[in-house]
Symmetry: C2
Subunit: 264 residues, 2 copies
């Protein structure tokens, strides 16, 4: 048998094809196809013969652009020096989160949209953490909330504390035993951090929120340490409901502000 795998793996080519494929794109697609078909694993070296300028009928420059594409996609990494070359790299969730965030920056969802998912998923994440989170990660979590343990003294500090609060959730997402759940929660956090509306809210002073926020998280850490998933889930559910209500209130305030005052 000459071809053990006759199936063509074409699901990776961009589905909504542009008018014309250009050479670097085609080269990148070709290489990716080979990569996946050959079943190369992260850490494996990319065969040098694939990269010979002659093998692909493209020049070094074009080849380099193709490699750049794959590198950005997270599929490969290059190492200099002898024994160096192109290596298959494990994709990181952040690569994919980045692209998805880009998408939603162009068509921003509402805060209600984001929390519709957070209300469903964060409690699951908390329960997951209570059953699976390793002890080392628990330590990291405790350190994270230490950043905003003390009352902020300036507006900027308050803003940084708010971001650290997102990091707390991000740490949970990073350690999720369910990778898809972790990915989605991380994406939602990224949106909260980057969407202009949310940034505007975070940058304004928010007296009062901090107290309830940190209380929830202390309780949550305790529940996780006790390995009590039901309790963890309940706490997170309550936290999400409060957080959504808070964000919506602030959003309304911000809208009223921009309508009445400060025309500019």
């Amino acid at each position: 048998m000459s071809k053990p795998t006759p199936e063509r793996r074409q699901s990776f080519a961009t589905p909504l094809a542009e008018k014309k494929r250009k050479r670097p794109d085609m080269t990148a697609d070709l290489l990716r196809e080979r990569l996946l078909d050959a079943g190369l694993k992260p850490g494996d070296r990319m065969p040098a013969e694939w990269l010979a300028p002659d093998a692909l009928k493209v020049s070094r420059g074009t080849l380099r652009e193709a490699l750049k594409i794959l590198e950005f996609q997270g599929l490969i990494a290059s190492k200099t020096g002898p024994g160096g070359g192109i290596f298959v790299r494990a994709m990181t969730p952040s690569d994919a989160i980045q692209t998805a965030t880009n998408l939603f920056l162009q068509r921003p969802p509402t805060i209600t949209d984001i929390y519709a998912l957070r209300k469903q998923l964060e409690p699951e994440l908390a329960a997951d953490a209570a059953t699976h989170l390793p002890d080392e990660a628990l330590v990291t979590l405790k350190e994270t909330i230490r950043i905003y343990e003390k009352r902020p003294e300036s507006g900027e500090e308050e803003y940084l504390q708010r971001l650290a609060e997102l990091d707390f959730h991000a740490e949970l997402a990073r350690n999720a035993s369910n990778p898809v759940l972790g990915f989605t929660c991380a994406l939602l956090l990224n949106l909260l951090r980057d969407l202009p509306q949310c940034r505007a809210i975070y940058q304004k002073p928010n007296p009062g929120l901090r107290e309830t926020g940190i209380l929830y998280q202390i309780e949550l850490i305790r529940a996780i340490a006790e390995r009590d998933p039901l309790k963890a889930r309940d706490i997170m559910t309550g936290h999400m409901i409060e957080a959504e209500r808070y964000m919506q209130t602030r959003e309304r305030l911000l809208l009223e502000d921009s309508e009445t005052g400060a025309g500019g």
Copy 2:
């Protein structure tokens, strides 16, 4: 306060930074930052002065690599000729879904992982459809289930029907009024379609499943037409629980198969 916007938008740099940023990557990040800060909309032309080799202190080749990265991220497109240049491109959800799918093909989640999210999100999608789905989309939905209304006559036909069933859910996702919810559900469907394990399950004959599947969907369409979100949510919840149980059973069967028989 001399600087009106002192905030640096650095969250876009890969959070888990590699050892060394290289020039094309840095250039790409810089350009993306400018793009977002300037609030350029899809269709807008990228100012030529940003691309002057002098402005960025990089050569044209390096600049082109940076542009290639952004192009692959879906952020820009280029046009040749007079009046041509670099244009901001409207990103499509499929761009981002593709990248995320790439990620999960490298570290496949389990079926349980996927359904942990589907159980939470698909019911919300159904409820959303019952309140927001336009009547035209309802017609499309009815046409979709017509594909698998009749009993399949061959294995291949059964497989195609299974994919059409995924299309039913995809249609719901496409029409979601909540874009993040729609995106996530579409990603999950993509995973079900592309993950090797799932493909293996779908390609085997599954007597009995079809009947309950189509019943659920007929009921669901009725609930949506009646604009009854609670009912729609309930139906979908039941559907998801059954679907998960089914997939898990088939997965177990497949594992046993590959353990006992057919060593090859």
